[in-house]
């Protein structure tokens, strides 16, 4: 109990509360701006104007929409499970907020002799916490579908729970290699490991290509260079986790009306919406943290030295939010069997394989000289790379089948077909 008393008595608690409040304010503003940004960018890609009435460039449109939703009636279907129906949006929105707690969005600043780090909480299991918070969000979707007492939400809820748990495995496994090379689950340690430049690779030293070696001193030491397969896996699984195109099957409007949130209206619908957009921001921020050096940036000026890392972090995160929007505007939705195929037969084996490759490259057995080790690593790496190339090039055999339209069948055959056909 002494620890609690110490904590509550010291200046720490003030700092903690200030950080929490700032983080929430930033997240809410980020959500408002992300929704506006998405509408503007997609409008631009579709040669439209987009929102342009409220505020400069329509930036206050989301605020107006939010206020409208505040005054809308909250209709609850008659056969809905009262409490579960009411709590499901909360279950979807709050965990998205929580995941942001472990993302370092800047270096640190000293205020009145107290060091304040730009992270809500540097958990020693930060990466795991991020995954855990994301998984709780699945409950919101499943319970909303189950509790609505309606057919389409139920179908959508079950379907999306299968999707989310499938891609959650790939998401978790794609982060193992990062932990393996950093030897830490703390996001702060992961960002610190990516500081500076790649450094002199002494690959071309003493030759006329010495200049190429020096070139590596300006390339930032981000994990994207060595861990790009993990990054690809993380991004694909991450987009699937946010329920966004091309993985927006949970709310596939052409098949399921609006999926799990068909029966939701007013403020509870707004909570689902809020949760989704915060999730987009958080996945973007996590991609930046894990693979693109977090708040590390090329320029840190003497003038307000703490604001530059925050700026770099923001620039990189916005780039990823743009990627999310771009993909939504570009890609068509996956069919459900293709989605499961991609998740289970490609992403999960690929992430397991990449964990093994990273482990082989980083293991240091005793009693083996450096030269042999390097050759073995190169051989293993090359063999696996060729294997991956082979698998990717082979693709799904069903894609290569020539599909010929069926001949019109006789009436009797059609009747029999109804019985044997799957639903």
């Amino acid at each position: 109990m002494g620890a609690i008393a110490d904590f509550l008595g010291g200046p720490d608690v003030v700092i903690a509360i200030v950080k929490v409040v700032v983080a929430f304010a930033a997240l809410l503003v980020a959500t408002l701006l992300t929704i506006w940004f998405e509408r503007k960018v997609i409008a631009d890609m579709q040669a439209r104007i987009g929102p342009n009435r409220w505020g400069p460039f329509g930036v206050l449109q989301t605020v107006a929409d939010g206020i409208k939703l505040f005054f809308k009636e909250d209709v609850r279907p008659r056969y809905a499970d009262r409490w579960t129906y009411g709590l499901a949006p909360v279950m979807a929105a709050v965990p998205s907020f929580l995941a942001f707690a472990v993302i370092p969005f800047g270096d640190h600043v000293t205020v009145g002799g107290e060091r304040v780090d730009f992270i809500v909480s540097d958990l020693n299991i930060g990466v795991l916490f991020f995954l855990a918070a994301g998984s709780i969000g699945v409950y919101g979707v499943v319970l909303a579908g189950w509790a609505s007492g309606s057919k389409y939400p139920l179908l959508g809820g079950i379907r999306s729970s299968a999707q989310l748990i499938s891609y959650e495995i790939a998401l978790g496994l794609s982060l193992v290699p990062i932990v393996l090379v950093t030897n830490s689950l703390s996001t702060v340690d992961i960002v610190a490991a990516q500081a500076g430049s790649v450094g002199n690779v002494d690959l071309f030293d003493g030759t006329f290509l010495q200049g190429v070696s020096e070139l590596f001193e300006v390339i930032p030491n981000w994990y994207i260079w060595s861990q790009w397969p993990a990054f690809l896996l993380f991004m694909i699984a991450g987009i699937a986790e946010t329920n966004r195109a091309p993985f927006d099957l949970p709310e596939a409007e052409t098949e399921l009306i609006a999926g799990f949130h068909t029966e939701y209206s007013g403020i509870r619908f707004a909570l689902f919406f809020l949760g989704e957009y915060i999730h987009v921001v958080v996945i973007s921020a996590m991609a930046v943290t894990l693979f693109f050096g977090g708040w590390n940036g090329p320029i840190v000026d003497e003038f307000l030295p703490w604001i530059w890392p925050v700026g770099w972090f923001l620039v990189k995160t916005i780039a990823f939010v743009y990627l999310f929007i771009w993909l939504r505007a570009t890609l068509p939705r996956l069919r459900y069997d293709r989605l499961m195929w991609l998740g289970w037969k490609r992403l999960i084996p690929a992430s397991l394989l990449w964990i093994m490759v990273t482990a082989v490259v980083n293991v240091n057995p005793e009693g083996v000289d450096e030269q042999t080790l390097r050759s073995i690593r190169l051989a293993v790496f090359g063999a696996l790379f060729l294997l991956v190339l082979f698998v990717v090039a082979k693709g799904d055999p069903r894609l290569k089948q020539v599909v010929t339209p069926e001949r019109p069948r006789s009436r009797r055959a059609q009747k029999q077909g109804v019985k044997s056909g799957s639903s």
Binding site: V94, S121, G149, L154, L155, I165, I169, G172
Partner: protein, 122 residues
């Protein structure tokens, strides 16, 4: 920043509490602002514009069950992989070989599931 193991979790707790207060506060506030006039037509569930037929329970494909089982297996695998990855450098070659065998066995299980065609949809 509260220091140490304890402090970092207290901050997370504060964060979670503020989040819950924010969400429930919003819900309570809108309760005061919004109208509440449930009528029969409004509380019917949506079914493409016609009155719903039967109950809200639709049949779900049994295949979902297999995916749920497999999910448990691989999620538990991930739980074992994270601690191993964290102390990878200290444990050295023996732990590496053991983990190769562990992942190999589970990869075999996945291969078996693929060959048994339980992961086929449709």
């Amino acid at each position: 920043m509260p220091e140490g193991y304890f402090g970092s979790y207290v901050t997370i707790g504060v964060f979670a509490v503020v989040g819950l207060v924010l969400v429930f506060g919003t819900l309570a506030l809108t309760r005061l602002l919004r109208p509440n006039v449930p009528t029969r037509a409004k509380t019917l569930t949506y079914e493409s514009g016609i009155d719903p037929i039967g109950t809200g329970w639709a049949q779900a494909n049994v295949r979902y069950y297999v995916f749920a089982l497999l999910f448990v297996i691989f999620d538990v695998e991930a739980v074992f992989l994270f601690p191993w990855a964290t102390v990878f450098e200290d444990l050295g070659t023996q732990a590496f070989v053991e983990m190769v065998i562990f992942i190999g066995v589970l990869a075999l299980a996945l291969l078996y599931a693929i060959k048994k065609r339980v992961l086929e949809w449709l």
